[in-house]
């Protein structure tokens, strides 16, 4: 399921990143790659604050929807 559907507070594993290449590279640098666990800290009209590898990242709805996750 897309990350946008993950309930805040729950943890999941990133499966696939469907963003375009340049965005994907940037996300990799920030720790967002398949196999990494991610959790949603808070949500504001679709935009998310997530926790990845101990840091907090803000993602807009569009890019969050391109990350497919799997509940662990």
């Amino acid at each position: 399921m897309p990350l946008t559907m993950l309930t805040p507070g729950k943890e999941a594993i990133i499966n696939v990143c469907k963003a375009k290449d340049s965005t994907k590279k940037f996300l990799e640098g920030l720790g967002i790659i398949p196999g990494v666990s991610i959790s949603v800290i808070s949500e504001m009209s679709g935009n998310l604050i997530v926790s990845v590898k101990g840091s907090r990242l803000a993602l807009n709805k569009g890019v969050a929807g391109q990350l497919l996750v799997q509940m662990c």
Partner: protein, 681 residues
């Protein structure tokens, strides 16, 4: 010996704090990703060797994404510093080490500074530095830059590395990838790399970049189609084995290596997963209902303090100091010493009057910058960007554009430059254009002068409405430009949110005093020169005769020519027209010119009497149209130069300036003519 050490690391990992500690300089340190947008150089103090330190913009990886990342990467690859000091935020070690793996692969000697160790200890976590050194094959030093700890040790180690590598040309032998990938890298290194037309300085790195399919590297190496086909065989083979694309495989391998090394070396006291203090604050600050009201309340609060009672108190105080105490004393001296009337006029009226009319606003501008610095240092800035993303997306921009726009309330020059954090060119151009509609600090004296003359009762609200007008015009411009000349897809918003921090007194005062100093320096140089030129141009005619009526002076003659352009906007008198024109030098000069033309600085004259004089040629409606025009029209020469440099195109620079002035004219026209139709005066 001369050495060059470059500081590289993730955004917000403490690079600039480290830079300041090493070099003894006071570069501004903020709490949001992207504070350092240009590389900065300094010399290491306390060392007899000549060591140059270069502070690079923060980057997450060496795959260039935004402009600042390109600046950092190009510097490392082209300038070849002797040692790369890789600074790591030890509280966020796993993510930070990703860049480290890439940095080590470059083959330039690396020393790692494990920074913010004090925060790690405070949390009760433990890091086995020796174990990490062994895993990564580079020296690692624990530091706490904000407390000055470990800096000397770090520099000594870097120096040692620089001296020994000068002899050995040491490249790291560290291998981060699993067997299959290492085998491919090895094969490419041994068979393909030697056949390249451009000789590779670091064969392993070249092989890796070819395997990764790095566009920049391919371009630089001038790779032939035949070589690309050979590489493709390897890529397809690995992609099949791992069932993923090549880039992800490499990134995944790096992270795996890091996780493995960390699991042995780092012992965390708490398992993580619970909400931190920052998370709890974020729950409120980015709450779906509270976020925007909270943001507006913060902004309104800042305006009330800056332009309300406290702000105007400082104005009155400085006004008395300059226009009564200083002007009176100097005037007295000149009379006693029997100076010629023209000299008396130049000094008292031209210089003191011209500079004084803007200097009175220095404390107020410093108050504004004080609050902007709090927003930056606390970490609220990036949250505000997050909160505003959805709104900005409707204009075709991302939340990242918000930071330049907010900084635009201070000074357009750094604001325009901070648009570099935007990754796509159209977004960056649009952001620059819209940032210019955010009223900069230098325009404040103009509003302050006019509101005190015409809107004495509601000063803060009227000024606030001008700022809001700027935002509204920016909104409309955004929608229009995005649909016409700057069409394109908006980049996604991805931004790291640093933990909240209580701003330090030192940080805030550096920021505030820097700004105050800039402003006073500007008054002493550009505005001083402008005041002298303006005084001359309004005192002499074209035949260089001193004139009684300034209307016959050089400036008067010229002003009368351009005045009709402004007549439909309500201020067609030559003095106002000329004042606006001189605003190109710097916006404060508008006030200085009005001050000189209306005889401010003469004994007994102060800002209040300039206001009284203005009431003879303006009405409240005209004054409002004048302020609106000042808000929107073309930027000052410093901003103009910055736009040219950042847009890197004359066409776009001229478009920007023309667009602004056109919009300014139309808006002022609507305000004045519309206001008259509605019966205002």
């Amino acid at each position: 010996m001369h050495y060059k050490f470059a500081l590289v690391g993730n955004p917000n990992c403490g690079k600039t704090t480290m830079f300041n500690e090493i070099t003894g300089s006071t570069q501004y340190v903020g709490n949001w990703p992207g504070v350092t947008i240009e590389k900065k150089e300094g010399k290491a103090k306390k060392f007899k060797e000549d060591i140059k330190i270069i502070d690079l913009p923060g980057i997450y990886s060496l795959s260039p994404y935004s402009m600042e990342e390109i600046i950092a990467r190009d510097y490392i690859l082209d300038e070849k510093p002797d040692v790369l000091i890789n600074i790591i935020d030890a509280t966020n070690i796993e993510r930070n080490l990703y860049l480290t793996t890439q940095v080590i692969e470059l083959g330039i000697p690396v020393v790692v500074a494990l920074n913010m160790m004090d925060a790690v200890e405070a949390k009760g976590d433990q890091i086995d530095i020796r174990a990490l050194e062994k895993a990564f094959g580079v020296p690692i030093i624990g530091t706490s830059a904000n407390k000055g700890k470990g800096i000397n040790e770090l520099l000594h180690k870097a120096l040692e590395v620089a001296e020994s590598s000068a002899l050995t040309h040491g490249t790291s032998a560290c291998k981060f990838y699993d067997e299959q990938i290492e085998k491919c890298i090895g094969e490419i290194e041994n068979t393909i790399v030697p056949s390249l037309t451009v000789k590779a300085q670091n064969p392993r790195w070249t092989a890796l970049k070819l395997l990764e399919g790095d566009e920049k590297a391919k371009e630089k190496l001038n790779v032939s189609a035949k070589v690309l086909d050979q590489i493709k065989v390897y890529q397809e083979k690995l992609e099949k084995v791992y069932d993923n694309d090549m880039e992800t495989i490499i990134a995944d391998n790096r992270y795996r290596f890091i996780s493995k090394s960390i699991s042995k070396a780092v012992k965390k006291k708490s398992a993580g997963g619970e909400l931190t203090v920052s998370d709890k604050i974020d729950k409120v600050v980015t709450h779906r209902i509270l976020a925007i009201p909270l943001f507006l309340a913060v902004m309104l609060g800042i305006f009330q303090i800056t332009f309300g009672a406290i702000g105007s108190f400082t104005i009155d105080w400085v006004d008395v100091l300059i226009n009564e105490t200083i002007a009176g004393t100097v005037s007295g001296w000149l009379e006693v010493s029997g100076a010629a009337p023209w000299l008396h006029d130049l000094v008292v009226n031209g210089i003191i009057g011209g500079m004084g009319s803007m200097l009175v606003f220095v404390p107020q501008i410093m108050i504004l910058f004080f609050f902007l610095a709090i927003l930056e240092d606390s970490g609220y800035m990036s949250r505000a960007a997050f909160v505003m993303d959805r709104l900005l997306r409707k204009l075709g921009l991302s939340g990242k554009s918000f930071i330049p726009m907010l900084m635009g309330f201070g000074c357009s020059v750094p604001a325009i430059m901070s648009a570099r954090t935007l990754e796509n060119e159209k977004d960056r151009r649009l952001t620059i254009i819209l940032t210019l509609f955010m009223s900069c600090g230098a325009k404040l004296p103009v509003y302050a002068l006019f509101v005190s003359a015409f809107f004495a009762k509601d000063q803060a609200w009227v000024v606030f409405s001008i700022y809001v007008l700027g935002i509204i015009v920016a909104v409309f411009s955004g929608v229009i430009l995005k649909k016409t000349v700057l069409k394109g897809e908006t980049a996604p918003f991805v931004m790291e949110l640093p933990p909240y921090r209580i701003p330090t007194f030192k940080g805030l005062s550096i920021h505030m005093l820097d700004r105050g100093k800039d402003f006073v320096k500007k008054a002493g140089t550009i505005i001083f020169a402008a005041a002298v030129v303006i005084w001359f141009a309004q005192s002499f005619s074209f035949s260089l005769q001193m004139v009684e009526d300034p209307g016959n002076s050089i400036m008067g003659t010229f002003g009368k020519i351009i005045a009709p352009f402004f007549a439909p906007l309500g201020f067609g008198d030559w003095k106002s027209s000329v004042a606006l024109l001189t605003g190109f030098v710097a916006k404060e000069v508008v006030v200085a010119t009005l001050g000189i033309l209306h005889g401010l600085g003469e004994v007994g004259e102060d800002t209040a009497s300039l206001a009284a004089t203005l009431q003879t040629s303006f009405t409240p409606l005209k004054a409002y149209a004048f302020m609106a025009f000042t808000l929107l029209y073309m930027p000052c020469v410093a901003a103009f130069g910055t736009i040219k440099r950042e847009m890197n195109s004359w066409k776009w620079t001229l478009f920007t300036v023309g667009y602004q002035t056109g919009v300014a004219w139309i808006v002022a026209f609507i305000i004045y003519q519309g206001g008259r139709l509605l019966g205002f005066n």
